[in-house]
């Protein structure tokens, strides 16, 4: 494909669109997840708090009713152990629940009366005393020796002792961790897939746009038969292609109309001109036996001027509408200019005008040689008509950055300032000019038909400067 596709993919619009879309999607889902996470965490906490409060109340009840005899410890201990087996959010299959729940009863003096749980309970007691755990209100409790904090609820029994029930937050945290892990995995998967899908879709879509752009760029000034590619789908891009093609249809049809009109006009004017010229020529040859017929001669000359004017007008009209038909071939500008100088040289020197050329040798461009000949002839005719004797025309030809620069400098009076701004329009000419004001309009039209441009100014040191820029060989 063309060189345009060779540019790095990260600079394509598809890449940017999918990057931003994915980023927005990822952020939004992350925010939603954070809210959800907080809600789930709160809910789990509320549930374990409810369990703790309920169990601690049951235990308090049991402790109150159980006689304080030798069996007291065993009865309360068993009830506590039983409660530990119904821990909420418990990981199924974990055998040992002893380390996730503890039961602690302290006397009114704060000493340990009963302990059910992992270890000897002293660190737990120390932590409870340090944290001032209050009854009825479950609190978080970090116990030395355990990496995961406990949630502890307390209740005061009639005899002044306190019962504490602790539930490790391990299961709660495990549930949340697994939730986060799963979310992260799914999130990454969705984000990557989403990015891929968005990227591929937009690239495909923009690929259509790029193909349309390439096709549109390929439709030249004079070749309007080509169309941009269309797809069967009816989306915006297809609509764009269709609209472009409709536009091209309209342009082509108006161009065609213009051709038809100019052709008809040309035909309608040229046929009588041909007939008149032929008859005049015949009467001229008949008259020549009796000596030249001055009126016939001047009639023929007038007629030739008229048809020249007609030709130029039609050419300029077509060129202004970008409808000049080009017959391109490889043309050596240097050779073309030298041939022109060869042709115009004697007329120039007859008038006392010197003509110089500065060129770096052969310079080939893809152009219509016949049009270039006429373009340069127009410029030379202008110099011949407007330059006074002892003038100098300096032609400069060089090639820079893929363009041929063709400069015409003279040391005449320069352009009249009011003319300068409209120099390349039709019927614009200086007050002293005897031409029909089509010459430079034609030069401009030819330059533009070749994808070039023309500019004119008055030189600071006096005289006029015209510069024509033509694109060089594309290869």
């Amino acid at each position: 494909m063309s060189s345009k596709t060779a540019k790095p993919i990260v600079r394509s619009a598809a890449w940017r669109i999918s990057l931003w879309a994915t980023l927005a999607f990822a952020c939004a889902t992350m925010v939603v997840f954070i809210l959800l996470h907080r809600f789930v965490a709160d809910d789990i906490q509320r549930r374990s708090d409810a369990w703790l409060s309920g169990e601690v109340e049951v235990l308090g009840d049991v402790a109150e009713r159980t006689p304080k005899d030798a069996l007291y410890g065993r009865v309360v201990g068993e009830v506590a152990e039983l409660a530990g087996k119904e821990v909420p959010n418990r990981e199924p299959g974990s055998s040992n629940s002893n380390d996730s729940v503890f039961f602690l009863q302290t006397g009114s003096d704060g000493t340990m009366r009963l302990w059910v749980g992992a270890g000897d309970g002293h660190p737990n007691l120390k932590a409870i005393q340090a944290a001032h755990v209050l009854p009825e209100r479950p609190t978080d409790l970090a116990v030395s020796g355990f990496s995961i904090p406990f949630r502890v609820a307390a209740i005061r029994v009639d005899d002044g002792s306190l019962i504490y029930l602790g539930l490790s937050e391990r299961d709660e945290l495990r549930v949340l961790r697994s939730l986060r892990l799963r979310f992260l995995l799914w999130w990454l998967l969705i984000v990557f897939f989403g990015f891929g899908i968005v990227f591929l879709t937009t690239r495909r879509m923009l690929g259509h746009v790029r193909r349309i752009t390439e096709a549109a760029a390929g439709i030249g000034h004079s070749d309007l038969t080509a169309r941009v590619p269309t797809t069967a789908r009816r989306d915006e891009v297809a609509q764009l292609a269709l609209t472009l093609n409709h536009m091209l249809d309209r342009i082509e049809s108006s161009m065609h109309q213009l051709h038809t009109i100019t052709d008809a006009l040309a035909h309608d004017l040229r046929s009588p001109l041909t007939a008149i010229r032929g008859k005049l020529e015949m009467s001229l040859s008949a008259a020549s036996e009796r000596g030249p017929a001055e009126s016939v001669v001047s009639a023929i000359e007038e007629l030739d001027r008229l048809s020249d004017f007609l030709n130029k007008s039609l050419d300029v009209a077509e060129a202004k509408a970008d409808a000049l038909r080009l017959d391109r071939s490889s043309v050596d500008l240097d050779e073309l200019l030298r041939a022109m100088i060869d042709l115009y040289g004697p007329s120039m020197s007859e008038k006392g005008v010197e003509i110089r050329i500065r060129s770096n040798g052969p310079l080939f461009i893809e152009a219509d040689a016949a049009l270039l000949h006429r373009m340069v002839a127009n410029l030379f005719d202008n110099e011949l008509k407007h330059l006074s004797s002892a003038g100098v025309v300096a032609i400069k030809l060089d090639f820079r950055e893929g363009f041929a620069f063709l400069g015409f400098d003279d040391d005449g009076l320069g352009f009249e300032t009011e003319v300068l701004a409209h120099l390349f329009e039709r019927r614009i000419k200086g007050r002293e000019s005897s031409g029909h004001g089509l010459g430079l309009a034609f030069v401009d039209a030819v330059a533009r038909a070749h994808g070039g441009s023309i500019s004119a100014c008055n030189r600071a040191e006096g005289g006029a400067r015209i510069e024509i820029i033509l694109p060089g060989l594309s290869s």
Partner: protein, 225 residues
Amino acid sequence: MRLLLVEDEIDIQSFLRASLTEAGYEVEAAADGRSAEALAMSGQFDILIVDLGLPDQDGISLILRLRRLGVGAPVLILSARRSVDDRVRGLEQGGDDYLTKPFALAELLARLRNLLKRNSPPAQEATKLRVLDLELDLLRREAARSGQQLQLTPQEFVLLEYLCRNAGRVVTRSMILEQVWGMRIQPDTNVVDVHIYRLRGKVDGEGQRPLIRTLRGVGYVLKDC
């Protein structure tokens, strides 16, 4: 030389018929494609002149049809259009020629001669041209008048050669521009005239009979007068 003229404009047809007859052609004329085809099939023609804008069909289609029907004679296409259609270019490459209206009679005759010459076997190319006491050595690129060497620039020699090759026949400015300089341009200044004046200054010296004559309104002719 039998010539078939296909032109719908009666005025143009009549003056062309008269001029061509005067130039020695045996002219048959048709005003539309159908009668042109009938005429072309009924008789042998050496050359055809076809106008592109015919009332019943396009001139190009007519030429292509005649070619398919076995008419091999060269065609001079007359076109009222200035910019030349690609199809005309195609025919031009096939050995035919075109001329845009309005044209000078001299140019029409010159193009007819060229077309006929192209189709006839090439004659032995002469190395010397002689018109009265003017002699051109085509190999050494030298010219002499009455044995006196002329100091000509290469361009002047080409111009003189062209005039000599057409000695006795009128050449127009645009013919000179096309044949000598290879350009189809119409300058609105007297560039060709200046070249001719200079050449005349060298060829027709004082005391010599002038050879290069100006025919006002038409062009130039090299001949004894």
